[in-house]
């Protein structure tokens, strides 16, 4: 399983493991090669910063593997984790296109490989191939929808239900199904970050977790979580703003 991935690491975009899901799939071989040459692959360990809020770099970050968190800070020391990015996601492209500084910081929350791409090359690829711009637009709109979902949920759901929603999402991305139908996750996040994602203090999160455990919804042990009945969790968590 490892060998082909390692080879892909060497060969760049053309043989990238996430070529078919990445934004670059819309490019011609020729344009892909130009992007490929403007690219360098970097390895990040958990906690490493990919870029920092307030910085103004001229790069776009394409996640090849691992999990990258986007965080916003303020001058009072508040920190909110706005979302997670996975393989084939593009990070930090906003500041490049708007010309400003990064309004969030990005950091690895698992071992990750990320391709750092020179923004100028991406700009040229967009000029050369308008479909790439459309692709970025699609991604950006998807981000709007996701953010609006979050806003809607934070206005309508209880803290407990928001945690269930978040758990379900983490389950989807990080969970592994066991033979007996239960599900296990290794959370990529600290309690504090989890708490910030649902907008509560970390003490409150502890108590909500305690409640879920006595309810039998999930068992927490450090960052390891087991959900005995994922269906029940999904049912309890689902208010997807239908109608």
């Amino acid at each position: 399983m490892a060998p082909p991935s390692d080879k892909a690491n060497q060969d760049g975009c053309h043989t990238c493991t996430c070529r078919d899901q990445s934004s670059w799939q819309v490019l011609s071989e020729d344009d892909l090669e130009r992007v490929n040459r403007a690219r360098r692959t970097r390895r990040y360990e958990p906690g490493d910063t990919v870029f920092a809020q307030g910085e103004a770099d001229r790069c776009v970050y394409c996640v090849k593997s691992g999990t990258i968190a986007e965080r916003r800070l303020d001058s009072d020391g508040n920190s909110v984790l706005l979302g997670l990015n996975y393989a084939s996601d593009l990070v930090g492209y906003r500041s490049f296109l708007s010309g400003g500084t990064h309004r969030t910081s990005a950091e690895a929350v698992s071992p990750a490989t990320v391709c750092v791409i020179d923004a100028a090359a991406v700009g040229e690829a967009m000029e050369r191939n308008p479909e790439l711009t459309r692709e970025l637009l699609r991604r950006s709109m998807a981000e709007v929808e996701q953010a609006q979902d979050t806003i809607f949920r934070s206005a309508t759901l209880s803290n407990r239900d928001r945690l269930l929603q978040l758990l379900q999402e983490l389950l989807r991305r990080h969970g592994t199904m066991a033979a007996d139908g239960s599900c296990r996750i290794e959370l990529p996040l600290s309690r504090r970050d989890l708490a910030s994602m649902i907008g509560v203090r970390h003490e409150t999160l502890s108590r909500i977790i305690g409640r879920l455990e006595t309810e039998g919804m999930a068992q927490f042990s450090g960052r390891h979580v087991t959900v005995p009945n994922p269906r029940a969790l999904a049912a309890a968590a689902s208010q997807p703003s239908a109608d």
Copy 2:
């Protein structure tokens, strides 16, 4: 002041009052004319629906004047006002580009004129002029940033401070400065919608308003608000997530 505007109303995009701010400014005369022909101008009264959540129309809506609110509903009857759109803003373009249904509904909250543009024509304009796609991308990214701001504030600020932030924003868009330095607004929104924007029950909003009145921060009378000292409000509201 009125005559030129009325004339503009007749003449379409070329002489539109918001031509220089709209997304169409990037188009050539020729392309602008194509969009213009695919356009019809509609008048909305407060409460009128521009498009409804769940609908799948093939149109893009360009606000010429007035205020258009974007709302999300769920099956439990919850309603959240996600944001307001003003002259030169584009609404409803997400579903056209993603091909799906509207995930929000849009309604006028003031008398408004909106141009309803055939999506196919916009699609063609994008093919013909890639700069238009970039422009939509810029707008979409701005929406992401705004949504992330909202998420961050709802996770870090008190309900009172979120109301102050909202008031300040409404002041900016709808306020008129008086000679003595005070500021008056005619709110375009009901209490319920205001409450949903900051994520509290409407009863709670009433009480927060009461507190602000006793503090002398603002005086509320129905939808009419006067802020004696806008500077003080701005100072109290400002935690713009710097650094």
